[in-house]
């Protein structure tokens, strides 16, 4: 009851509409808990991402596109109603009523009703299979219609029309785009850009018809319908999709007397207030300065301004930049500012490369000092730089054409350092360079953290690369000393240490510490140096100079468990094992009473071995033909495989032999972190290879190679690196990739994060490995060959070395065992005893002594 009373007292804000902008308003408003927020949405779903709507056909679900959930709104303390279309506003009583007759009182009302697709008044437009492209429900209708259609036409060749065309093309329809104007995307790009865009889109199999006005839709001859154009031509089609622009949803304002623009739109001032000071309008339903903004970023800006104004804070909407960058059917398109060069006295520079399908134009001021606009088709790599020139009024270099000419060598690049702190980096969430720096001040240490902290890059995503370079630049500035240094003893990164060790032929940690470090070292630099020394020289890791560098797991060649015992994991390459060997494992486990488990990596782990038991256990295993599984090492773990074409009805290659060969080739290789492989015998992918560091999937013609996959904490699909490789090329590429990773990876960096952080990403790695762009492949191969050729089973070597075996004595001066290691039985096997289950051996001894004395 008391909560209800509190709510009654709270200031009531009612939001009509829950699109992206309405949702953004809710998030902004809910930052302040003094307000009682109610959301009324006419749609059946809460807010979802309309910018990426076409991905619904690419496999994304409504849940993937959702921007919020009922739970999230409950957490924020927001009341919400879906299927609640508001039908009337009482400005005097300050309340709204829904279709169902429910009435909600407000202190402030926010209209975020958005827009609806404009359907031109063409006779025949209201039949079945004449659809629009706006909501998830629309997409479902399109998908249903596409199933019974062969040909589809999009009426409207603007940005949304081309997205819609892409959508129906993905659904397998023969696709046409009909545009009234003489060119595509007339709002954003100029005639030259439009010509090239048309050519590229037609190359992709979409037919474009410009300067066409549809006069009537009739019954078709070969298809369901026929579009009759005013120039007496016709086009047969089964499905018609209207995408001829948007119109503001302003009917509420119209009916209840709020000021409207001449051609619609709810008139708002700089605070986003309508003609009634208690009613606000934001997003595509609002008309500011006689302009409707059809992009999400200005809508977000309005949402923020309205929320601020309601909370009594200052803020003003002063217009927004309409620059945009996107990929349409794989064609990159960018438009900045005055793309058409309408500014008086403006001059343009144009670069066109027809063979490559690239068109670039910049519009500059008459004094050639300021960038006014740009059009980029086919290659938008300069978009971020150009946008920053325009937004921040940065003075242009002497020859501005250099900004778009492909002569990369002396291209004036705008370093992110040149940007002022006020520069907007992410316009969707209005994140400035200063905001990014502030997030790093507040403790963000990775680009991911910067993104989640500032929300930069989480709107349209167009600024992702820029966010990364601003953050990286900032990390670099403060990071060179703090971040890349592996620890206080070495002012170098892992890859620098790798270079030092290789170039200066350093063979021991002491040499390295003396020549390049300080102090005594620590648990970070020692194993790192140990790993690098092992990668470069492939010495037996327990050789005396290296002994003290290894983590306990490497020293005792097993994984330490919570009670100080170790696990025993022999290699079972590819998961293939003979019954006899399986029996040996069972016998050894039984003899030493080890907990036994089959792992996810298709091998058998034996747990609960005390240090002193490790050598006898391994002696039995090695004698039976087993070798170490390196489960303890930052090195190759398992190669997971299916049985492949040998047994499986569907297999197209012998994945089992490939897996075993690869496992034996790379076993023992020391790397920045553990490495897992997967080999699948066909596209069914039973070995889940795409979730592995190196994933290999058989094709009819050979093997597809994936790199950088990961399961675990942060799953990542591997990137398709190369297709249809023969066995030799596959191994050659894997050799090079692994060795390149070993050389350049950071400490404890899996290949997935290595890939994410590799400057230039997949394309760069392909260039290095396949085109030898760094000229290092011969070296990489030689190094790998040396390591493969000098493999030794570390357990076999240890068992032959009495000096090394001394390490496995529990005490230097006693043969007693550690009394603190105790087990209890669970499901017929041992497990470590927990606190209260332990019998204090020492204590019993002591009480006995006391008792004797007493």
């Amino acid at each position: 009851m008391s909560t209800d009373k509190q709510l009654l007292k709270k200031f009531k804000v009612v939001v009509v509409g829950n699109g992206m902008v309405g949702h953004h308003f809710v998030e902004e408003m809910a930052k302040n808990t003094d307000y009682d927020i109610t959301v009324l949405s006419a749609e059946s779903r809460l807010a979802y991402d309309r910018v990426h709507l076409s991905e619904y056909f690419g496999g994304k679900t409504a849940e993937d596109l959702a921007m919020t959930t009922p739970e999230h709104y409950e957490e924020l303390g927001v009341n919400f109603k879906t299927n609640a279309k508001v039908t009337s506003i009482d400005k005097v009583a300050k309340c709204v009523t829904t279709e169902k007759g429910e009435t909600y009182h407000y202190d402030k009302l926010v209209l975020a009703t958005g827009s609806y697709p404009f359907v031109p008044p063409i006779p025949g437009k209201d039949q079945d299979h004449c659809l629009v492209y706006r909501t998830i429900d629309d997409l479902e209708d399109i998908a249903a219609s596409a199933k019974v259609s062969k040909v589809g036409v999009v009426i409207g060749g603007g940005l949304l029309g081309l997205e819609a065309a892409n959508a129906i093309k993905q659904l397998g329809l023969q696709t046409h785009v009909v545009e009234f104007a003489p060119q595509l995307m007339g709002v954003q790009i100029d005639g030259g850009g439009g010509r090239l865009l048309r050519q590229k889109i037609e190359d992709l199999g979409v037919q474009v018809h410009t300067s066409k006005a549809t006069s009537v839709i009739e019954k078709g001859n070969t298809s369901r319908y026929k579009l009759c154009f005013s120039d007496d031509t016709e086009l047969e089609t089964d499905l018609i999709l209207f995408s001829a622009g948007i119109r503001p949803y302003d009917n509420l304002a119209r009916e209840f007397d709020l000021d409207l623009g001449e051609r619609g739109g709810i008139v708002v001032n700089n605070q986003c207030q309508t003609s009634d000071e208690n009613i606000y309008a934001i997003g595509e339903c609002a008309l500011w300065n006689n302009f409707i903004f059809g992009l999400v970023a200005p809508g977000y800006a309005m949402a923020k301004v309205a929320a601020k104004h309601i909370s009594g804070e200052e803020g003003e909407f002063t217009g927004a930049d309409m620059s945009t960058k996107l990929k349409l059917m794989g064609v990159e398109v960018g438009s900045i500012g005055d793309a058409h060069g309408k500014t008086e006295g403006s001059l343009t520079y144009t670069y066109e490369n027809q063979p490559e399908g690239v068109y670039k134009k910049i519009v500059v001021s008459s004094d050639k000092k300021a960038l006014l606009g740009a059009v980029l088709i086919g290659d938008t790599s300069e978009y971020d730089t150009l946008l920053q020139y325009m937004l921040n009024a940065i003075e242009l270099p002497e020859s501005p054409e250099g900004l778009i000419l492909p002569m990369a060598a002396d291209k004036p690049t705008l370093g992110v350092d040149a940007l002022p702190d006020t520069a907007t980096i992410c316009s969707c969430h209005n994140v400035t360079k200063g905001d990014i720096i502030a997030s790093i001040d507040a403790g963000a240490t990775t680009v991911g953290e910067v993104k989640s902290c500032t929300k930069a890059g989480s709107g349209c995503g167009g600024c992702a690369a820029l966010v990364k370079s601003v953050a990286d630049n900032e990390f670099e500035k403060r990071g060179v000393e703090v971040k890349k240094d592996i620890c206080e003893h070495f002012a170098y990164s892992r890859s620098e240490i790798f270079d030092i060790v290789s170039v200066e032929k350093i063979k021991t940690f002491d040499e390295l510490l003396e020549s390049h470090g300080r102090g005594l070292g620590c648990e970070i630099c020692k194993p790192l140096a140990g790993s690098v020394l092992a990668s470069v020289w492939n010495d037996y890791i327990l050789k005396k100079p290296h002994l003290s560098l290894q983590d306990t797991n490497d020293t005792y060649l097993g994984n330490m468990q919570k009670d100080g015992t170790y696990s025993v994991v022999p290699r079972i390459a590819g998961g293939e094992i003979t019954p006899d060997k399986l029996i040996v494992l069972g016998e050894v486990a039984k003899k030493y009473n080890l907990y036994t488990k089959i792992t996810g990596g298709a091998r058998v782990d034996l747990f609960g071995a005390r240090v002193e038991q490790l050598p006898p256990i391994w002696k039995e295993l090695v004698d039976a033909g087993f070798e170490t599984g390196h489960a303890y090492g930052k090195s190759l773990r398992t190669v997971k495989s299916c049985v492949g074409s040998t047994w499986c009805r569907y297999g197209v290659q012998d994945s089992m032999s490939m897996a075993i060969d690869l496992e034996h080739r790379y076993k023992g290789l020391r790397a920045p972190h553990k490495i897992k492989f997967g080999v699948s015998g066909c596209t069914r992918e039973c070995a889940e290879a795409q979730g592995k560091d190196i994933g290999i999937i058989a094709t009819e013609n050979g093997w597809n190679l994936f790199v950088g996959g990961n399961g675990g904490m942060k799953p990542r699909h591997g990137d398709l690196f190369a297709t249809d490789l023969d066995d030799d090329t596959l191994v050659k590429y894997v050799d090079r990739i692994l060795m390149f990773y070993v050389q350049t990876g950071d400490r404890l960096q899996r290949t997935s994060t290595w890939m994410d952080n590799l400057e230039g990403g997949l394309a760069y790695l392909q260039d290095v490995i396949m085109n030898d762009s760094l000229g290092i492949n011969a070296v990489l191969e030689t190094q790998m060959k040396a390591i493969v050729g000098t493999y030794q089973c570390e357990w076999k070597t240890t068992l032959e070395d009495p000096e090394a075996l001394k390490r496995f004595q529990p005490f230097v001066n006693s043969d007693k065992a550690d009394s603190n290691i105790q087990f209890v039985t669970e499901r017929e096997q041992i497990r470590p005893a927990r606190g209260a289950e332990k019998i204090d051996v020492t204590f019993i001894d002591a009480t006995e002594i006391v008792a004797e004395e007493a």
Binding site: G521, L547, S548, F811, V812, N820, A846
Partner: protein, 122 residues
């Protein structure tokens, strides 16, 4: 409680092992019977480049609750010689036994090398 009332023998230097049993820049463990007659595990570290050269601390990791400290990596943090627990990586000072990350302290023993013998005072 009763244990403390038990008569204690005086502490003396006792030989644990020879210097050849030590492992450079690494640890070994020893089992001793303390003055109360209880078993105690000691971790002994040999760091030739440090001022003290040799250190002895309790082998029990009070955070990981296992006798494992001698298997940790040694080094220095801000010039303080430390061992890092092989379980959860906290650092313990080899001079004071203080944990640098949490409010825990481990025992510290006097240790010396005499005539190639490693001797502990207990």
């Amino acid at each position: 409680m009763t244990l403390s009332t038990k008569a204690t023998t005086d502490k003396t230097w006792k030989t644990i092992c020879g210097t050849t049993d030590l492992v450079k820049d690494s640890g070994i463990s020893a089992l001793i019977a303390n003055s109360a007659g209880e078993d105690e595990q000691v971790a002994i570290f040999h760091i030739p480049n440090s001022e003290e050269k040799i250190f002895a601390v309790g082998n029990y990791d009070p955070i990981g609750e296992a006798n494992v400290l001698y298997r940790g990596l040694v080094g220095c943090i801000d010039d303080e010689p430390v061992v890092s627990s092989p379980l959860y990586k906290q650092h313990y000072s080899l001079k004071t036994g203080r944990c640098l990350q949490e409010e825990k302290t481990i025992a510290v023993y006097d240790i010396r090398i005499e005539n190639e013998q490693v001797q502990l005072f207990y």
